[in-house]
Amino acid sequence: MPEPRSPLGQPLDRADGVAKVTGRAKYAAEFAPPDLAHAVVVTSTITRGRVTACDTAAAEKSPGVLAVITPRTVPAMKAVPADLLPKGRPPIELRPPLADEKVSHFGQAVAVVVADTFERATAAAARVRVTYQADEPALTLEEAEPTAFEAETFVGREDLKHRRGDVARALAGAAVKLEAVYRTPVEHHNPIEPAATIAEWDGDSLTLHDSSRWVHATRRVAAGVFGLSPEKVRVICPFIGGAFGSKGFTWQQNLLAAAAARHVKRPVKLVLTRQQMFTLAGRRPETKQAVALAATKDGGLTAVRHATMSETSPLADFVEPCGTLSKHLYSCPNVEVTHRVVRLNRSSPVFMRGPGETPGSFALESALDELAVAAGIDPLVLRLKNHADRDEEKDRPWSSKHLKECYRRGDERFGWAKRDPKPRSMRDGNLLVGWGMATAAYPGIRMEARAKVRVTADGRAVAASAAHEIGNGAYTVLAQIAAAALGLPVDRVRFELGDSDLPFAPATGASQTTAAVGSAVTAAAVEAMAKLVKLATTDKASPLFGIAVDQLAAREGKLVSRADGAKADAFSDILRRAKLKGVEADATAAPGEEKEKFSFLSTGAQFVEVKIDPDLPRVRVTRVVGVYDPGAVLNPKTARSQMLGGILMGLGAALLEETVYDGRGLVVNPDLADYRLPVHADTSDIDVSFVNEPDRHFNPVGARGLGELGISGIGAAVANAVFHATGKRIRDLPITPEKLL
């Protein structure tokens, strides 16, 4: 009998496809508990100082208003538990919202209005009169530089200080040298679904429908802040309308909604406005990165120095870890990586797709291109020459790395060999044509996760873990993994997620859902199968009675003897005879000793073509070729989509996206018209492919993850293509037309 095709690696349609195209998929704001009230946040109009008076009288008299909540009337909230993330300075705000009357940034929550309808709450919010005492804010990196502090780690996971060899000496004696400063602006995630919460109290039990990409942590935060035991809090989130690093677990709308609901003793819905998404939902911080490279005449790297300055708010200690890739992406004996942070009166920054890798790879990969030009070496050849065959930072082997194959295939698919290296040498009619490339990289990360699997007497299975469907295809890919481990067709497996009552899953972040939760699903499925095997082999009525475990395989919903394919017992028959409705198992999966033996890195090669009108230098990206090595690709259809998304967000960062602050620290462009992000007409031909080599050292399914790999390197590939087209090196993103005039 031929082995049925494993569901792993199949380009299956999304399991939640029908729900999403019919409008039936329910996002956080779309639940409708009876008697639902609506809350609207009133935000600060100054950048630093304190609230001296908050006149709520007019708002309170406004039609339909149930309450106006200020720091003086807000229900008690304790600080956010500090141990949510490992060691080090907390990268998140621990101060609960409305804790005091201090204003640390423009757009900070200063009051919340609750009314019976959204319109009435909005109208009343406009009637709250807030008076401030304004103090002098810190507004720019340069101004604040004297107060900079050094960052040691990124969320306790990644060292931000690294030194090997002697960079100064290598630079002093270098045959080829490059020193430059690269800058990236504040960017906002701008998921199309705004952050949203519906909070409902039942006595001292709290239910949150929350757009959270870590429901278990949101539960812990809410429990800690309101002084409840975690079992009293349930966080539900079956669908998230995009997050990209925002919608973590401590954003203020969920705590404000819960406080408001407690105050008015009704369920309360609070959805941030798009404008509030620019000051209450995180952002990528501005960075200024000084990079120095030294090389031998033939391009062998002898020194890499990457000194990053980023900014954070007065309320959180977030650092943008730009230098992490510089520690190990290339082979180099002398390396120095440092990170400093200043405090500005801006809203708190947070993770945004490829934190560190995205702005960091812009600097490093632009610098490499500049070095290639200085040395007269092809940029692709330079990267091949300096390929890191092992992790020189940690001095250990890579678990699996096929970057050279990515370069080779990208070279071929793009036609890189036809590139004339001279700037302004290639044309398409009147248009300048530029070809640029860069390396993409993102670490393989997996944290502990737990899952349960239940095989039922109807020959189906349900697998579950408190993971999240954020557009990553979790419903689909995690069901594929369960089906593969159970020997069931994938359409007989359903996956449940997005509920803190389900077994623990880590945040949907760090590109790890498939790797982390998938491993737990596999482990739970194996245990459930062991129970079925035991039932069958100890049941005299089974054709498999007495057969040894290692002589059995599971396929198509049956246990089958390996020696004699005719000997088979359907899961449903086994359970029926045992008079069981099903068998269930749960299991935890966590990284083991492989963590110390290997380094895990996903890599790729990004190639970009731009065309630029020399008279009006608007950059059009006409072609992108990306070849990636994220380990095993479990669903090529959804995987390709994630890469497209990363690439497009990278193109946005390269050419369009920038949050602008005025001289008072106010956000100038807090909406989707003035914060420019890629629209359909900005998109052209994008060619995504994978090496698809499983990383068996990493986890059972061999997948490292790919949510953030696609954005890495895109900024530099575009900037390098722009240099090739125009001869102009742009070191501060985004590359807008005026910078090319």
């Binding site: 319109e119 995009g242 390709r640 629209v679």
Partner: protein
């Protein structure tokens, strides 16, 4: 708000004065209380943004009787009043397109359209695209080509695409890209949306003699 919720309060300054003038001080006093404390006596009709009016909306072929303040947008009437949450709120400013619905077959941003302005018109939302359990060709093509990730912009993308196909636009890839540019997809599904819309347009062409 719930569709059958009635009304009872008015307390902005002008409405307060009107209340005094029309109904006497007792009513006005009651009306100034929070909404949970409903006035015992019927509140006299009043005008203004705080006062709901009866609105009959035809959505996906069904008439609905609502009481809505005139300032309620079509999007909020659909989502909050009718619990038709397929139409999404992304920006509430007509900038993202997630709220796109068809009104008399034309694409509109329902967040910029007042519900009262659609009385007597036919509103079609993503919930009305399928014919019972039979999905619209665009819905099938979106699934087949993975033309979405998080799915939040998808209802708007589908309604936009349905509208422009009906209008006989989207004749070339560039035209699809341009015409669909009012619908932002932050997940970056544009290349797949293009293929899906193109396929349906070509299918539609084939069906025509």
């Amino acid at each position: 708000m719930s569709p059958d919720q009635d009304i009872d309060s008015a307390a902005d300054r002008r409405e307060f004065m009107e209340g005094v003038a029309v109904g006497g001080i007792g009513v006005a006093f009651a009306a100034a209380l929070p909404i949970t404390a409903t006035a015992d006596e019927p509140v006299p009709p009043a005008r203004g943004p705080g006062q709901p009016v009866p609105v009959k909306l035809n959505v996906n072929g069904t008439d609905h009787d609502l009481k809505l303040e005139p300032r309620v947008t079509l999007l909020d009437a659909l989502r909050e009043g009718l619990h038709l949450t397929g139409s999404k709120k992304g920006c509430d400013h007509g900038q993202c397109g997630a709220c796109t619905v068809l009104v008399d077959g034309r694409r509109v941003n329902s967040c910029l359209t007042l519900a009262v302005a659609t009385v007597g018109r036919k509103v079609q939302t993503v919930e009305g695209l399928a014919d019972g359990d039979v999905l619209h060709p665009l819905q099938l093509a979106f699934i087949k080509h993975d033309a979405f990730q998080c799915g939040y912009c998808t209802p708007g993308q589908l309604c936009s695409a349905a509208g422009l196909l009906k209008e006989g636009r989207a004749k070339s890839d560039d035209e699809i890209r341009e015409e669909m540019s009012g619908n932002i997809c932050r997940c970056g599904a544009y290349p797949n949306i293009l293929v899906a819309v193109r396929e349906v347009r070509q299918g539609a062409l084939k069906e025509k003699p």
